[in-house]
Symmetry: C2
Subunit: 290 residues, 2 copies
């Protein structure tokens, strides 16, 4: 039975996981660590965690006796923590993560958490979030109706504690879906990383074009409506998180970006031809089924 | 005093204008014409119009005695109606439109509605809409808090009836803003036409990539969240309307598309460099002020 949980990284996803556990009647302890004292204090104040861990050393010690360790930091930091914790954790313990890309993490898990002497590592990725992060925006309902993707190494049986953790995910209102890690990263490049880079590109382009001219900027602000707001919303996303996505999923993201560049060029070259109609009909078809 | 209004094109914008007039206590008659009998019947049924005009000939006759004629059809059809109605309308009457691009319409107005023998033409563009059109989706509140852009030819005084029509726009809850026509079209390329083409391109690309493979398509549907939904929402927009935008604002739209293609290429080539950080910071700055 899961009794002690350590959450490493008490930002939006980490703190929301703590709140979701409490909303689902988890009665054990939840200790938290974050590199930012502000995030940690906010998570403690809103009840996402009940114990503050003050250093990496203290966190590693707490993990030794934890039932579940949740890594809720950006991808490269997850890889760092995996290396720190692999020598410390033992069979019967579960370590899981919430990183946006899964291939590097799953490969590392196969190496670091292998054999009968190792804890179980479950690579996870809840498809939930907001364009702004931080424990202050955390919500117990963040995972309600969300997909919680998992990319477990194929060669192992799910341990009892992994099964118990999956039942908590279900209690958060999320559904788990298991995917092969490389396939996960390719799919997420399309549905998440490409929309992010696109929104960032559009917002950056508009800032470059209008940001330095107050009069033109005011016109854009006055005229721009829902379309502009929606298409640039993700432009508020922090580099700190997306840097790691770009670094750990470079080729799939580059491939989707190139495909979109070519598509935009095709539209640009066909603004006055019937080809434009074909593009609109394809797009209509995509939306009809949503 | 405005007593008789003819709305040509009783789709989303035309029918919403009728409903907004009624909600603002307009007590005169509102006659409507549409090439689609379905749209016309829907507009009559929801009270957007009170009289149905059954043919172009009947519509032209009704316009002869109208106070205000509203052209609420796509841009090229607006230009057609301007040519049909210019010989028929007289001083004291107002003809206005709701077209998405304004340069060609304003140029035509300067030629067709010039001199003391002519009716007043007010080129207009309410910044309101939905990704799906039709009278059935019309709402009296569609223009609430919206900008209603106008591009009147600069060399004329606003007539009394134009001023009265502007007061009705204010009663709809919208604010008018006068712009020079070419400047309007350039701004709208950035805030409206580029987001539309982008959303269409992304949705069309996803349909091409996943639409023919039910298993992959199901994965995209399961995993895609708010980001994908928002970024492809405008993909549902109809070609019939956007064809005329592309044809009547080709150069500004092409220029914004090219700029975005280059921006995406820049991001693609810098997924692993600190340049990516600059793009995120610019995008963050754009969003901070919204």
């Amino acid at each position: 039975m899961i009794q002690r949980i350590v959450i490493i990284g008490t930002g939006l996803i980490g703190a929301s996981t703590g709140l979701a556990l409490r909303a689902a009647k988890f009665t054990g302890t939840i200790a938290g660590f974050d590199a930012s004292g502000t995030e940690l204090a906010a998570a403690l104040e809103n009840g996402a965690i009940d114990t503050v861990l003050h250093s990496r050393a203290e966190t590693i010690t707490a993990c030794e006796s934890a039932s579940v360790v949740i890594l809720a930091v950006p991808v490269l930091a997850i890889l760092d923590w995996m290396h720190l914790l692999a020598p410390v954790l033992k069979p019967g313990q579960l370590i899981t993560d919430v990183g946006s890309t899964k291939l590097q993490i799953t490969d590392a898990a196969t190496r670091l958490f292998a054999g009968v002497q190792a804890a179980t590592f479950l690579p996870g990725h809840p498809m939930a979030g907001k364009e702004s992060g931080g424990a202050a925006l955390a919500e117990a309902t963040l995972f309600h109706n969300a997909m919680w993707l998992c990319t477990p190494p194929t060669e192992r049986e799910p341990s009892a504690i992994e099964q118990e953790w999956r039942s908590w995910i279900a209690k958060f209102g999320a559904r788990t879906l298991d995917l092969e890690a490389a396939h996960h990263d390719e799919l997420c490049a399309w549905v998440s990383h490409l929309p992010q880079m696109l929104s960032t590109a559009l917002a950056a382009l508009l800032e470059d074009t209008f940001g330095n001219d107050p009069a033109r900027r005011a016109e854009i602000d006055a005229i721009g409506g829902r379309a502009l707001r929606e298409m640039t919303r993700l432009g508020a996303s922090p580099y700190s998180m997306w840097r790691d996505v770009a670094l750990s999923n470079t080729d799939p993201v580059a491939a989707t970006l190139l495909a979109l560049e070519q598509r935009l060029q095709h539209i640009r070259e066909n603004l006055k031809t019937p080809e434009l109609r074909e593009e609109f009909l394809l797009a209509n078809k995509f939306r009809e089924r949503r």
